[in-house]
Symmetry: C2
Subunit: 217 residues, 2 copies
DNA sequence: GCAATTTTTGACCAATTGGACAAACGTTAG
DNA sequence: CTAACGTTTGTCCAATTGGTCAAAAATTGC
Protein backbone atom coordinates (compact mmCIF):
# COMPACT_ATOMS: atom_id res chain seq x y z
CA UNK A 1 0.00 0.00 0.00
CA UNK A 2 1.37 3.31 -1.09
CA UNK A 3 0.87 6.12 1.37
CA UNK A 4 -0.52 9.41 0.06
CA UNK A 5 2.31 11.47 -1.34
CA UNK A 6 1.74 15.13 -0.45
CA UNK A 7 3.52 16.05 -3.72
CA UNK A 8 4.89 19.52 -3.77
CA UNK A 9 2.91 22.05 -5.80
CA UNK A 10 4.02 23.06 -9.28
CA UNK A 11 4.39 26.65 -10.35
CA UNK A 12 1.52 26.16 -12.79
CA UNK A 13 -0.61 24.62 -10.07
CA UNK A 14 -0.06 27.57 -7.79
CA UNK A 15 -0.98 30.03 -10.50
CA UNK A 16 -4.01 28.19 -11.79
CA UNK A 17 -5.42 27.52 -8.37
CA UNK A 18 -5.13 31.22 -7.69
CA UNK A 19 -6.97 32.04 -10.90
CA UNK A 20 -9.74 29.62 -10.05
CA UNK A 21 -10.22 30.91 -6.52
CA UNK A 22 -10.40 34.46 -7.82
CA UNK A 23 -13.04 33.51 -10.39
CA UNK A 24 -14.94 31.44 -7.86
CA UNK A 25 -15.02 34.37 -5.45
CA UNK A 26 -16.73 36.36 -8.15
CA UNK A 27 -19.31 33.72 -8.87
CA UNK A 28 -20.03 32.47 -5.37
CA UNK A 29 -20.39 35.97 -3.96
CA UNK A 30 -22.75 36.92 -6.74
CA UNK A 31 -24.91 33.82 -6.99
CA UNK A 32 -24.32 31.85 -3.82
CA UNK A 33 -22.94 28.32 -3.65
CA UNK A 34 -25.77 26.60 -5.44
CA UNK A 35 -26.34 29.44 -7.86
CA UNK A 36 -22.80 29.40 -9.17
CA UNK A 37 -21.87 26.70 -11.67
CA UNK A 38 -18.52 25.07 -12.30
CA UNK A 39 -18.85 26.00 -15.94
CA UNK A 40 -19.18 29.67 -15.11
CA UNK A 41 -16.22 29.58 -12.77
CA UNK A 42 -14.13 27.73 -15.31
CA UNK A 43 -14.98 30.17 -18.04
CA UNK A 44 -14.27 33.15 -15.79
CA UNK A 45 -10.94 31.57 -14.96
CA UNK A 46 -10.22 31.05 -18.65
CA UNK A 47 -10.14 27.28 -18.73
CA UNK A 48 -12.33 24.27 -19.46
CA UNK A 49 -14.42 22.56 -16.84
CA UNK A 50 -12.44 19.32 -16.77
CA UNK A 51 -9.30 21.39 -16.51
CA UNK A 52 -10.65 23.19 -13.48
CA UNK A 53 -11.60 19.87 -11.93
CA UNK A 54 -8.01 18.82 -12.34
CA UNK A 55 -7.02 21.48 -9.82
CA UNK A 56 -9.93 21.10 -7.42
CA UNK A 57 -11.66 17.85 -6.73
CA UNK A 58 -15.14 19.34 -6.62
CA UNK A 59 -17.17 22.50 -6.37
CA UNK A 60 -17.26 22.11 -2.63
CA UNK A 61 -13.49 21.78 -2.55
CA UNK A 62 -13.18 25.20 -4.15
CA UNK A 63 -15.61 26.66 -1.67
CA UNK A 64 -13.81 25.22 1.34
CA UNK A 65 -10.49 26.62 0.16
CA UNK A 66 -12.06 30.00 -0.48
CA UNK A 67 -13.68 30.19 2.93
CA UNK A 68 -10.53 29.12 4.68
CA UNK A 69 -8.36 31.84 3.26
CA UNK A 70 -11.21 34.32 3.56
CA UNK A 71 -11.76 33.89 7.25
CA UNK A 72 -8.18 34.73 8.07
CA UNK A 73 -8.13 38.04 6.24
CA UNK A 74 -11.66 38.74 7.34
CA UNK A 75 -10.82 38.49 11.02
CA UNK A 76 -7.54 40.38 10.70
CA UNK A 77 -8.96 43.75 11.84
CA UNK A 78 -10.37 42.25 15.00
CA UNK A 79 -7.12 40.44 15.66
CA UNK A 80 -5.36 43.78 15.68
CA UNK A 81 -7.52 45.16 18.46
CA UNK A 82 -4.83 45.84 21.00
CA UNK A 83 -5.16 45.38 24.72
CA UNK A 84 -2.57 47.98 25.56
CA UNK A 85 -3.71 50.70 23.16
CA UNK A 86 -6.11 53.49 24.01
CA UNK A 87 -9.60 51.92 24.05
CA UNK A 88 -11.39 54.66 22.18
CA UNK A 89 -8.86 54.94 19.38
CA UNK A 90 -8.53 51.17 19.20
CA UNK A 91 -12.26 50.80 18.68
CA UNK A 92 -12.36 53.75 16.35
CA UNK A 93 -9.75 52.24 14.06
CA UNK A 94 -11.39 48.83 14.28
CA UNK A 95 -14.61 50.32 12.97
CA UNK A 96 -12.76 52.24 10.31
CA UNK A 97 -10.84 49.20 9.19
CA UNK A 98 -13.97 47.07 8.99
CA UNK A 99 -15.65 49.72 6.92
CA UNK A 100 -12.67 49.88 4.60
CA UNK A 101 -12.90 46.15 4.13
CA UNK A 102 -16.58 46.44 3.25
CA UNK A 103 -15.61 49.04 0.68
CA UNK A 104 -12.55 47.29 -0.74
CA UNK A 105 -13.58 43.64 -0.46
CA UNK A 106 -17.34 43.51 -0.90
CA UNK A 107 -17.19 40.14 -2.64
CA UNK A 108 -15.55 38.58 0.36
CA UNK A 109 -18.18 40.07 2.63
CA UNK A 110 -21.01 38.79 0.47
CA UNK A 111 -19.52 35.35 0.18
CA UNK A 112 -19.37 35.17 3.93
CA UNK A 113 -22.87 36.55 4.36
CA UNK A 114 -24.24 34.05 1.86
CA UNK A 115 -22.71 31.19 3.74
CA UNK A 116 -23.95 32.30 7.16
CA UNK A 117 -27.41 33.11 5.82
CA UNK A 118 -27.86 29.54 4.71
CA UNK A 119 -26.91 28.23 8.11
CA UNK A 120 -23.15 28.00 7.55
CA UNK A 121 -23.46 24.41 6.30
CA UNK A 122 -19.89 24.27 5.13
CA UNK A 123 -18.00 26.39 7.66
CA UNK A 124 -19.72 25.77 10.97
CA UNK A 125 -16.54 24.29 12.46
CA UNK A 126 -14.60 27.46 11.68
CA UNK A 127 -17.31 29.59 13.25
CA UNK A 128 -17.43 27.55 16.41
CA UNK A 129 -13.66 27.28 16.51
CA UNK A 130 -11.37 29.99 15.23
CA UNK A 131 -13.98 32.75 15.05
CA UNK A 132 -15.59 32.14 18.41
CA UNK A 133 -12.22 31.87 20.11
CA UNK A 134 -11.08 35.19 18.72
CA UNK A 135 -14.32 36.95 19.57
CA UNK A 136 -14.31 35.65 23.12
CA UNK A 137 -10.72 36.75 23.52
CA UNK A 138 -11.37 40.26 22.25
CA UNK A 139 -14.58 40.53 24.24
CA UNK A 140 -12.40 39.96 27.28
CA UNK A 141 -10.13 42.79 26.22
CA UNK A 142 -13.10 45.10 25.87
CA UNK A 143 -14.48 43.92 29.18
CA UNK A 144 -11.16 44.82 30.74
CA UNK A 145 -11.48 48.35 29.42
CA UNK A 146 -14.96 48.61 30.87
CA UNK A 147 -13.90 47.38 34.26
CA UNK A 148 -11.08 49.92 34.24
CA UNK A 149 -13.67 52.61 33.57
CA UNK A 150 -12.03 53.57 30.29
CA UNK A 151 -15.21 52.98 28.29
CA UNK A 152 -18.85 52.71 29.26
CA UNK A 153 -20.16 49.41 30.58
CA UNK A 154 -22.09 47.43 28.02
CA UNK A 155 -22.24 44.00 26.39
CA UNK A 156 -18.94 43.35 24.65
CA UNK A 157 -20.22 40.55 22.41
CA UNK A 158 -23.16 42.55 21.19
CA UNK A 159 -20.88 45.51 20.65
CA UNK A 160 -18.78 43.40 18.31
CA UNK A 161 -21.91 42.10 16.57
CA UNK A 162 -23.17 45.60 15.99
CA UNK A 163 -19.87 46.73 14.54
CA UNK A 164 -19.93 43.76 12.20
CA UNK A 165 -23.52 44.38 11.25
CA UNK A 166 -23.22 48.08 10.55
CA UNK A 167 -19.99 47.93 8.58
CA UNK A 168 -20.72 44.80 6.55
CA UNK A 169 -24.13 46.23 5.73
CA UNK A 170 -22.43 48.55 3.25
CA UNK A 171 -21.06 45.59 1.35
CA UNK A 172 -23.86 43.06 1.72
CA UNK A 173 -26.75 45.43 1.12
CA UNK A 174 -24.86 47.64 -1.27
CA UNK A 175 -27.50 47.76 -3.98
CA UNK A 176 -30.13 48.78 -1.47
CA UNK A 177 -27.91 51.42 0.10
CA UNK A 178 -27.14 52.92 -3.27
CA UNK A 179 -30.72 52.76 -4.44
CA UNK A 180 -31.97 54.53 -1.33
CA UNK A 181 -29.27 57.18 -1.26
CA UNK A 182 -29.86 57.89 -4.91
CA UNK A 183 -27.34 59.06 -7.47
CA UNK A 184 -26.42 62.19 -5.51
CA UNK A 185 -25.26 60.72 -2.25
CA UNK A 186 -24.80 57.16 -3.41
CA UNK A 187 -21.34 57.70 -4.86
CA UNK A 188 -18.11 56.61 -3.25
CA UNK A 189 -18.56 59.24 -0.57
CA UNK A 190 -21.24 57.11 1.04
CA UNK A 191 -18.43 55.33 2.82
CA UNK A 192 -17.13 58.60 4.22
CA UNK A 193 -20.60 59.52 5.40
CA UNK A 194 -20.96 56.10 6.94
CA UNK A 195 -17.58 56.36 8.65
CA UNK A 196 -18.49 59.67 10.15
CA UNK A 197 -21.89 58.47 11.28
CA UNK A 198 -20.67 55.22 12.80
CA UNK A 199 -17.85 56.93 14.59
CA UNK A 200 -20.25 59.41 16.08
CA UNK A 201 -22.73 56.78 17.24
CA UNK A 202 -20.29 54.25 18.63
CA UNK A 203 -17.58 56.48 20.00
CA UNK A 204 -19.95 58.99 21.57
CA UNK A 205 -21.85 56.33 23.40
CA UNK A 206 -18.73 54.51 24.51
CA UNK A 207 -16.81 57.44 25.92
CA UNK A 208 -16.91 57.28 29.69
CA UNK A 209 -19.21 59.81 31.30
CA UNK A 210 -18.09 61.41 34.50
CA UNK A 211 -21.57 62.56 35.41
CA UNK A 212 -25.03 61.17 34.72
CA UNK A 213 -26.08 62.27 31.26
CA UNK A 214 -29.72 62.72 32.06
CA UNK A 215 -30.01 64.05 35.58
CA UNK A 216 -33.76 64.53 35.80
CA UNK A 217 -36.73 63.68 33.65
CA UNK B 1 -60.52 37.38 -29.43
CA UNK B 2 -61.46 36.67 -25.86
CA UNK B 3 -60.27 39.19 -23.34
CA UNK B 4 -58.53 37.89 -20.20
CA UNK B 5 -61.14 36.98 -17.66
CA UNK B 6 -59.91 37.96 -14.22
CA UNK B 7 -61.99 35.09 -12.80
CA UNK B 8 -62.66 35.44 -9.14
CA UNK B 9 -60.59 33.26 -6.85
CA UNK B 10 -62.00 30.04 -5.45
CA UNK B 11 -61.90 29.14 -1.79
CA UNK B 12 -59.52 26.30 -2.63
CA UNK B 13 -57.33 28.63 -4.65
CA UNK B 14 -57.01 31.04 -1.78
CA UNK B 15 -56.12 28.29 0.65
CA UNK B 16 -53.68 26.48 -1.58
CA UNK B 17 -51.91 29.61 -2.67
CA UNK B 18 -51.45 30.44 0.99
CA UNK B 19 -50.03 27.00 1.69
CA UNK B 20 -47.60 27.31 -1.19
CA UNK B 21 -46.37 30.75 -0.20
CA UNK B 22 -45.80 29.54 3.33
CA UNK B 23 -43.80 26.55 2.13
CA UNK B 24 -41.91 28.68 -0.36
CA UNK B 25 -40.95 31.13 2.37
CA UNK B 26 -39.38 28.23 4.22
CA UNK B 27 -37.41 27.02 1.24
CA UNK B 28 -36.38 30.32 -0.30
CA UNK B 29 -35.21 31.75 2.99
CA UNK B 30 -33.20 28.65 3.71
CA UNK B 31 -31.66 27.96 0.32
CA UNK B 32 -32.07 31.13 -1.70
CA UNK B 33 -33.96 31.43 -4.96
CA UNK B 34 -31.79 29.14 -7.02
CA UNK B 35 -31.13 26.75 -4.18
CA UNK B 36 -34.79 26.04 -3.57
CA UNK B 37 -36.56 23.65 -5.93
CA UNK B 38 -40.18 23.52 -6.96
CA UNK B 39 -40.29 19.90 -5.89
CA UNK B 40 -39.20 20.79 -2.37
CA UNK B 41 -41.73 23.57 -2.11
CA UNK B 42 -44.49 21.36 -3.46
CA UNK B 43 -43.64 18.60 -1.02
CA UNK B 44 -43.47 21.02 1.89
CA UNK B 45 -46.86 22.34 0.84
CA UNK B 46 -48.22 18.80 0.65
CA UNK B 47 -48.95 18.61 -3.05
CA UNK B 48 -47.43 17.46 -6.30
CA UNK B 49 -45.29 19.65 -8.50
CA UNK B 50 -47.75 19.93 -11.38
CA UNK B 51 -50.41 20.75 -8.84
CA UNK B 52 -48.33 23.58 -7.46
CA UNK B 53 -47.74 24.85 -10.98
CA UNK B 54 -51.47 24.99 -11.41
CA UNK B 55 -51.59 27.73 -8.78
CA UNK B 56 -48.46 29.62 -9.77
CA UNK B 57 -47.22 29.92 -13.27
CA UNK B 58 -43.57 29.53 -12.37
CA UNK B 59 -41.02 29.54 -9.61
CA UNK B 60 -40.40 33.19 -10.21
CA UNK B 61 -44.11 33.88 -9.93
CA UNK B 62 -44.09 32.45 -6.41
CA UNK B 63 -41.08 34.54 -5.51
CA UNK B 64 -42.59 37.75 -6.79
CA UNK B 65 -45.77 37.19 -4.82
CA UNK B 66 -43.79 36.39 -1.71
CA UNK B 67 -41.63 39.50 -1.97
CA UNK B 68 -44.58 41.73 -2.60
CA UNK B 69 -46.46 40.76 0.51
CA UNK B 70 -43.22 40.65 2.47
CA UNK B 71 -42.14 44.19 1.77
CA UNK B 72 -45.34 45.62 3.15
CA UNK B 73 -45.12 43.90 6.53
CA UNK B 74 -41.38 44.41 6.57
CA UNK B 75 -41.64 48.15 6.29
CA UNK B 76 -44.54 48.45 8.71
CA UNK B 77 -42.43 49.42 11.74
CA UNK B 78 -40.77 52.26 9.88
CA UNK B 79 -44.12 53.41 8.59
CA UNK B 80 -45.27 53.81 12.17
CA UNK B 81 -42.47 56.23 13.03
CA UNK B 82 -44.55 59.19 14.01
CA UNK B 83 -43.69 62.78 13.30
CA UNK B 84 -45.63 64.10 16.26
CA UNK B 85 -44.46 61.62 18.90
CA UNK B 86 -41.51 62.10 21.20
CA UNK B 87 -38.40 61.53 19.06
CA UNK B 88 -36.49 59.45 21.57
CA UNK B 89 -39.34 57.13 22.41
CA UNK B 90 -40.35 56.91 18.75
CA UNK B 91 -36.86 55.76 17.80
CA UNK B 92 -36.65 53.51 20.80
CA UNK B 93 -39.81 51.66 19.86
CA UNK B 94 -38.78 51.53 16.23
CA UNK B 95 -35.60 49.72 17.24
CA UNK B 96 -37.52 47.46 19.56
CA UNK B 97 -40.07 46.59 16.93
CA UNK B 98 -37.44 45.84 14.34
CA UNK B 99 -35.69 43.56 16.78
CA UNK B 100 -38.95 41.80 17.54
CA UNK B 101 -39.44 41.21 13.86
CA UNK B 102 -35.96 39.72 13.57
CA UNK B 103 -36.89 37.40 16.43
CA UNK B 104 -40.39 36.49 15.27
CA UNK B 105 -39.95 36.53 11.51
CA UNK B 106 -36.42 35.42 10.79
CA UNK B 107 -37.41 33.67 7.58
CA UNK B 108 -38.77 36.87 6.15
CA UNK B 109 -35.59 38.69 7.07
CA UNK B 110 -33.41 36.06 5.46
CA UNK B 111 -35.50 35.93 2.33
CA UNK B 112 -35.07 39.65 1.97
CA UNK B 113 -31.35 39.50 2.74
CA UNK B 114 -30.88 36.75 0.19
CA UNK B 115 -32.53 38.81 -2.47
CA UNK B 116 -30.56 41.98 -1.77
CA UNK B 117 -27.29 40.10 -1.46
CA UNK B 118 -27.61 38.85 -5.00
CA UNK B 119 -28.23 42.32 -6.30
CA UNK B 120 -32.02 42.42 -5.89
CA UNK B 121 -32.53 41.04 -9.42
CA UNK B 122 -36.22 40.49 -8.88
CA UNK B 123 -37.26 43.37 -6.64
CA UNK B 124 -35.17 46.32 -7.69
CA UNK B 125 -38.28 48.31 -8.70
CA UNK B 126 -39.74 47.93 -5.22
CA UNK B 127 -36.47 49.06 -3.64
CA UNK B 128 -36.20 52.12 -5.83
CA UNK B 129 -39.89 52.84 -5.47
CA UNK B 130 -41.84 52.03 -2.37
CA UNK B 131 -38.88 51.48 -0.08
CA UNK B 132 -36.87 54.50 -1.11
CA UNK B 133 -39.91 56.74 -0.91
CA UNK B 134 -40.67 55.65 2.61
CA UNK B 135 -37.08 55.97 3.77
CA UNK B 136 -36.74 59.43 2.32
CA UNK B 137 -39.96 60.47 3.96
CA UNK B 138 -38.96 59.18 7.38
CA UNK B 139 -35.46 60.60 7.02
CA UNK B 140 -37.17 63.96 6.65
CA UNK B 141 -39.06 63.37 9.88
CA UNK B 142 -35.83 62.57 11.68
CA UNK B 143 -34.15 65.56 10.13
CA UNK B 144 -36.96 67.68 11.49
CA UNK B 145 -36.27 66.41 14.99
CA UNK B 146 -32.61 67.25 14.58
CA UNK B 147 -33.30 70.76 13.41
CA UNK B 148 -35.61 71.24 16.35
CA UNK B 149 -32.73 70.23 18.62
CA UNK B 150 -34.69 67.30 19.98
CA UNK B 151 -32.04 64.77 18.97
CA UNK B 152 -28.39 65.09 18.08
CA UNK B 153 -27.47 66.08 14.54
CA UNK B 154 -26.35 63.20 12.39
CA UNK B 155 -27.06 61.51 9.08
CA UNK B 156 -30.67 60.32 9.07
CA UNK B 157 -30.27 57.84 6.22
CA UNK B 158 -27.26 56.18 7.76
CA UNK B 159 -29.08 56.10 11.07
CA UNK B 160 -31.85 54.10 9.46
CA UNK B 161 -29.33 51.84 7.75
CA UNK B 162 -27.60 51.13 11.02
CA UNK B 163 -30.85 50.28 12.75
CA UNK B 164 -31.70 47.90 9.94
CA UNK B 165 -28.25 46.36 9.99
CA UNK B 166 -28.01 45.81 13.73
CA UNK B 167 -31.49 44.42 14.21
CA UNK B 168 -31.66 42.23 11.12
CA UNK B 169 -28.25 40.88 11.99
CA UNK B 170 -29.89 38.78 14.69
CA UNK B 171 -32.07 37.06 12.09
CA UNK B 172 -29.71 36.90 9.13
CA UNK B 173 -26.59 35.87 11.03
CA UNK B 174 -28.45 33.89 13.64
CA UNK B 175 -26.32 30.77 13.46
CA UNK B 176 -23.18 32.81 13.89
CA UNK B 177 -24.61 34.79 16.79
CA UNK B 178 -25.68 31.65 18.57
CA UNK B 179 -22.41 29.88 17.86
CA UNK B 180 -20.39 32.78 19.24
CA UNK B 181 -22.53 33.35 22.31
CA UNK B 182 -22.45 29.67 23.11
CA UNK B 183 -25.14 27.61 24.80
CA UNK B 184 -25.18 29.77 27.94
CA UNK B 185 -25.99 33.15 26.50
CA UNK B 186 -27.24 31.99 23.11
CA UNK B 187 -30.76 31.16 24.29
CA UNK B 188 -33.80 33.28 23.67
CA UNK B 189 -32.49 35.91 26.05
CA UNK B 190 -29.97 36.98 23.44
CA UNK B 191 -32.72 39.18 22.08
CA UNK B 192 -33.19 40.87 25.42
CA UNK B 193 -29.46 41.45 25.70
CA UNK B 194 -29.44 42.81 22.19
CA UNK B 195 -32.38 45.09 22.90
CA UNK B 196 -30.71 46.51 25.95
CA UNK B 197 -27.42 46.99 24.16
CA UNK B 198 -28.90 48.62 21.07
CA UNK B 199 -31.06 50.92 23.14
CA UNK B 200 -28.05 52.02 25.11
CA UNK B 201 -25.90 52.68 22.05
CA UNK B 202 -28.48 54.40 19.89
CA UNK B 203 -30.50 56.28 22.44
CA UNK B 204 -27.52 57.47 24.45
CA UNK B 205 -25.82 58.89 21.43
CA UNK B 206 -28.99 60.48 20.09
CA UNK B 207 -30.14 62.26 23.21
CA UNK B 208 -29.46 65.96 22.87
CA UNK B 209 -26.58 67.19 24.95
CA UNK B 210 -26.94 70.57 26.57
CA UNK B 211 -23.25 70.85 27.23
CA UNK B 212 -20.20 69.51 25.44
CA UNK B 213 -19.68 65.93 26.51
CA UNK B 214 -15.93 66.01 26.56
CA UNK B 215 -14.92 69.44 27.77
CA UNK B 216 -11.22 68.82 27.94
CA UNK B 217 -9.08 65.83 27.17
C1' DG C 1 -78.39 13.76 -10.49
C1' DC C 2 -75.72 15.72 -13.94
C1' DA C 3 -73.10 18.75 -16.78
C1' DA C 4 -69.65 22.22 -16.38
C1' DT C 5 -65.85 23.56 -14.10
C1' DT C 6 -62.03 23.15 -11.05
C1' DT C 7 -58.41 20.40 -9.12
C1' DT C 8 -55.01 16.69 -9.17
C1' DT C 9 -51.94 13.47 -11.05
C1' DG C 10 -48.68 10.46 -13.79
C1' DA C 11 -45.94 10.57 -17.56
C1' DC C 12 -43.02 13.05 -20.12
C1' DC C 13 -39.39 16.46 -21.90
C1' DA C 14 -35.44 19.41 -22.78
C1' DA C 15 -31.92 21.84 -20.52
C1' DT C 16 -28.59 22.15 -17.05
C1' DT C 17 -25.44 20.44 -13.86
C1' DG C 18 -21.53 18.13 -11.28
C1' DG C 19 -18.39 15.08 -12.33
C1' DA C 20 -15.61 10.85 -14.67
C1' DC C 21 -12.29 9.35 -17.98
C1' DA C 22 -9.15 8.24 -21.36
C1' DA C 23 -6.66 10.06 -24.81
C1' DA C 24 -3.88 13.82 -26.42
C1' DC C 25 -0.70 17.34 -25.69
C1' DG C 26 3.32 19.86 -23.26
C1' DT C 27 7.30 20.12 -20.55
C1' DT C 28 11.46 18.89 -18.69
C1' DA C 29 15.43 16.36 -16.69
C1' DG C 30 18.91 13.41 -18.05
C1' DC D 1 16.03 11.98 -28.04
C1' DT D 2 13.10 10.07 -24.73
C1' DA D 3 10.84 8.53 -20.65
C1' DA D 4 8.32 10.39 -16.99
C1' DC D 5 5.41 13.46 -15.49
C1' DG D 6 2.23 17.41 -15.64
C1' DT D 7 -1.57 19.64 -18.15
C1' DT D 8 -5.56 20.03 -21.17
C1' DT D 9 -9.48 18.67 -23.71
C1' DG D 10 -13.55 16.23 -25.99
C1' DT D 11 -16.80 13.14 -24.88
C1' DC D 12 -19.76 11.07 -22.04
C1' DC D 13 -23.07 10.15 -18.11
C1' DA D 14 -26.52 10.10 -14.54
C1' DA D 15 -29.08 13.09 -11.72
C1' DT D 16 -31.65 17.11 -11.11
C1' DT D 17 -34.48 20.73 -12.54
C1' DG D 18 -38.28 23.81 -14.34
C1' DG D 19 -42.02 23.14 -16.80
C1' DT D 20 -45.84 20.81 -20.10
C1' DC D 21 -49.92 18.10 -21.09
C1' DA D 22 -53.70 15.20 -21.42
C1' DA D 23 -56.45 12.56 -18.82
C1' DA D 24 -58.52 11.34 -14.43
C1' DA D 25 -60.77 12.78 -10.23
C1' DA D 26 -63.22 15.93 -7.40
C1' DT D 27 -66.20 19.78 -6.77
C1' DT D 28 -69.82 22.88 -7.73
C1' DG D 29 -74.00 25.13 -9.60
C1' DC D 30 -78.40 24.09 -10.99
Amino acid sequence: MEAEKPRRRTRIQTEKRELILEAALDMFSQHGFRGATIDQIAEAAGMSKPNLLYYFRSKEDIHINLMQRLLTTWLAPLRELDDVGDPISELRSYIRRKLEMARDFPRESRLFANEILQGAPRIMPMIEGELKTLVDEKAQVILGWMRAGRIVHTDAHHLIFSIWATTQHYADFDVQVRAVLGPDRGGEQRFDDAAQFLEQIFIDSLKPKTEPLNPAR
